[in-house]
């Protein structure tokens, strides 16, 4: 039966070609639009994650409060130990320390005196360690304009915009003027080994990239880091999972460290009390805990701002805390809005496409009323005619969707690999958000089945609706339509 109907469809092009073409085009469009929207959103999030937020990141509570000032005096200590703990707790993520710093870049003349100066936003990244995937996620080979990647501790890559501003060539020595994590004056010489353009609007205008070992040496930050970035091993940002591990880390690891720091502080404070030396060691150990609990009960640390000059600074401000990508400024709204917007846009698009295909099924059915009358006259039952119509619609829908999916996924894959360049528009936009210049689509698993909703379902439903008329009309009426 299916073979018979299929032959009919192939031989009668008017019944199969245009419906098939329409389905192929619409399914291709559905797949490409959804793949592109998904990819564009992921590009935006990934750019932000690579440059400024990670999928999650660990910082001290104090750093979190003042992060816009890049306060390295509030940086994390003992980062190796913290990173090892993070790998043990969340093996699906990889972790990388980072130092972000501001300062001035000074270019010397031939006498070693200042020739040019410009403000710089520096990032010390762990490029050299064995586990590091930073070169991969930054895709620096792709964005390198001149020179080569970092090889030594004192090498630096600077953005092509900054290189142009400072009139610096590859191989030049530049001096960073900044502050150590103790806020002391710091100067350090780097060698420019390459220039890059990240294709991310104004985000890299003043950017310098160095290995974290160089940044640590320059800023006197041994085993310290401003932040520890975490990325999912798949590099795909999963908002729900990021939020889950953030909450888990802050409720377990972070709070236990806070308690420990408060106990230490209490212990130190108590040690100044007269008579301390007369107390037994067992009692000494209990006391800090009691004091901390009392302070917590009084919510002293929580309301520390109200205590003004009389308060002690809560030692827990140096506790590591985790934040997810969505916790960054305006990013939560952005992520939520884009998820909703993408859902709504994809939904509207799907509905429109379904109406078109439904209409196509309806029109093809109506056009063939004469034929159905003839088939009824030669003895076919209404049910047989109705079923054959639906099978034909399903066949066309299925083949069209297969071809459309193949074409749509191919097109999406092409744009995933080569992207669409929006440089000129992005360069005119604000530099606050890290926007990529080139947007890439994303081939996701849902693209392989999403086309079947409009392609098969809508066509079949349209045909079924049109076919209902067969039951309502008498054979003679269908014959009249044949004569007409």
């Amino acid at each position: 039966m299916i073979k018979f109907l299929a032959k009919g469809l192939i031989r009668d092009r008017s019944r199969s070609f245009f419906p098939l073409l329409t389905i192929v085009i619409t399914v291709t469009l559905v797949i490409f639009v959804i793949g592109f929207m998904e990819g564009a959103m992921n590009n935006f999030l990934q750019s932000t994650a690579v440059i400024s937020s990670g999928h999650v990141k660990v910082i001290t509570k104090a750093y979190k409060k003042e992060s816009n000032q890049l306060p390295n005096d509030l940086a994390l200590f003992e980062t190796e130990k913290t990173i090892q703990n993070l790998y043990d707790m969340y093996p699906n993520y990889f972790w990388s320390p980072r130092i972000t710093f501001g300062g001035l870049l000074d270019v010397p003349d031939k006498n070693g005196e200042t020739k040019e100066q410009a403000p710089v936003f520096g990032i010390g990244i762990d490029f050299f360690s064995e586990k590091s995937r930073q070169t991969e996620i930054w895709e620096l080979e792709k964005y390198l304009i001149n020179g080569h990647l970092l090889k030594n501790r004192d090498d630096a890559l600077i953005s092509s915009k900054l290189a142009e501003q400072l009139n610096v060539d590859i191989g030049s020595a530049i001096t960073l003027i900044s502050s150590t994590m103790d806020n002391a004056f710091a100067t350090y010489n780097f060698n420019v080994t390459g220039t890059f353009d990240l294709n991310k609007g104004q985000a890299d205008k003043q950017m310098m990239l160095v290995d974290i070992s160089g940044a640590r040496q320059a800023l006197d930050m041994t085993d310290a880091a401003s932040e520890i970035f975490g990325y999912h091993n798949s590099l795909y940002y999963d908002d729900e999972e990021a939020v889950r591990i953030r909450s888990n880390f802050n409720l377990t690891y972070s709070d236990s460290i806070a308690q420990m720091l408060r106990n230490e502080e209490s212990y130190d404070a108590l040690s100044y009390m007269s008579g301390w030396n007369k107390i037994s060691n067992t009692v000494k150990k209990k006391l800090p805990k009691q004091r901390t609990n009392a302070l917590s009960d009084n919510q002293m640390y929580d309301n520390i701002d109200e205590w003004d000059d009389f308060s002690v600074e809560d030692p827990a401000i140096f506790t590591p805390t985790m934040i997810a990508l969505r916790d960054g400024s305006q990013l939560a709204n952005m992520v939520d809005f884009s998820n909703v917007a993408m859902g709504v846009m994809a939904g509207i698009f799907l509905v429109i496409v379904m109406i078109v295909l439904w209409n196509l099924g309806l029109m093809s059915g109506l056009r063939r009323y004469g034929e159905f009358g003839l088939r009824l006259a030669i003895g076919e039952s209404k049910g047989q005619v109705y079923r054959s119509m639906i099978i034909e619609a399903l066949l066309i829908g299925f083949v069209g969707t297969l071809l459309g999916t193949l074409l749509g996924v191919s097109l999406t894959y092409y744009v995933q690999e080569f992207g669409i360049d929006y440089s000129e528009a992005i360069n005119q936009m604000s530099s606050e958000m890290v926007l990529p210049n080139v947007f890439y689509a994303k081939v996701t698993s849902e693209l392989y089945y999403i086309g079947f909703i409009p392609g098969v379902l809508a066509t079949a439903l349209g045909t079924m609706l049109a076919g209902l008329a067969i039951y309502k009309r008498e054979m003679s009426q269908l014959f009249k339509e044949l004569e007409a």
Binding site: D106, T114, T175, T180, D182, A184, F185
Partner: protein
Amino acid sequence: MKNYLILFFLSSFSFTQSDHMSADDIMKEIDKNLNAESRIITSEMVVKGRRSNRTIKSKNWIVGTELAFIEYLSPPRESGTKMLKIGEKLYTYSPQTDRVIQISGHMLRQSVMGSDMSYNDMMEDRPMEELYSATIEGSTILDGREHWVMVLNAKVKGLSYPKRRSWVDKEYLLPKKEELYAKSGKLLKTASLKGIKKIDGRWFPSKFVYKDELKRNSKGTEWIIDNIQFNKKIPDSRFSKALLRK
């Protein structure tokens, strides 16, 4: 008894005299104490950080507001770093980079080594009388001592602190406490002068405590004067760029 009467008479005379001083007279007396043609200072700066304190030793040569040279003596990371101020230009040399770097004028209002003091706070010495016009707001007791409360408004443009409120000790004729304001009236810093001693015939504090009021959680910076010499001849070569590398 006779001696007591003489002492009483003299002390009441001195109080009467200081109580009737005009604002300009007080400013002149302050300048006599604080200001000099040149100063050579060996000092320690204790920067109170949120995690730890740092002590930085330095030797400073200062002539008026135009010329200053600082050599850092310790800790090891800062040792050998030198700074030269000529007018609005600041040059710095660090042995790690072996570079002389010029720092632009606005940096002079920035913090020295992460402290609550600016380069201008540390490197300038110009008579207050030339810079500010003063009015006496009233008298008050501070730490059990009589003080005038004075308001100083800038007479010249471009000062780091266009307005100051000073609590001037009536005996030492030195400001013991100061509030330093921006042109907008915003409080920028507070300073207090402690450990007043007689040095070369003038009253001079041995410790300055600065607190940057714009820095949240700032615990202040102590600038302790270990040694100070006034009006010593400083050769011009001290303020040459060539000396930075030596």
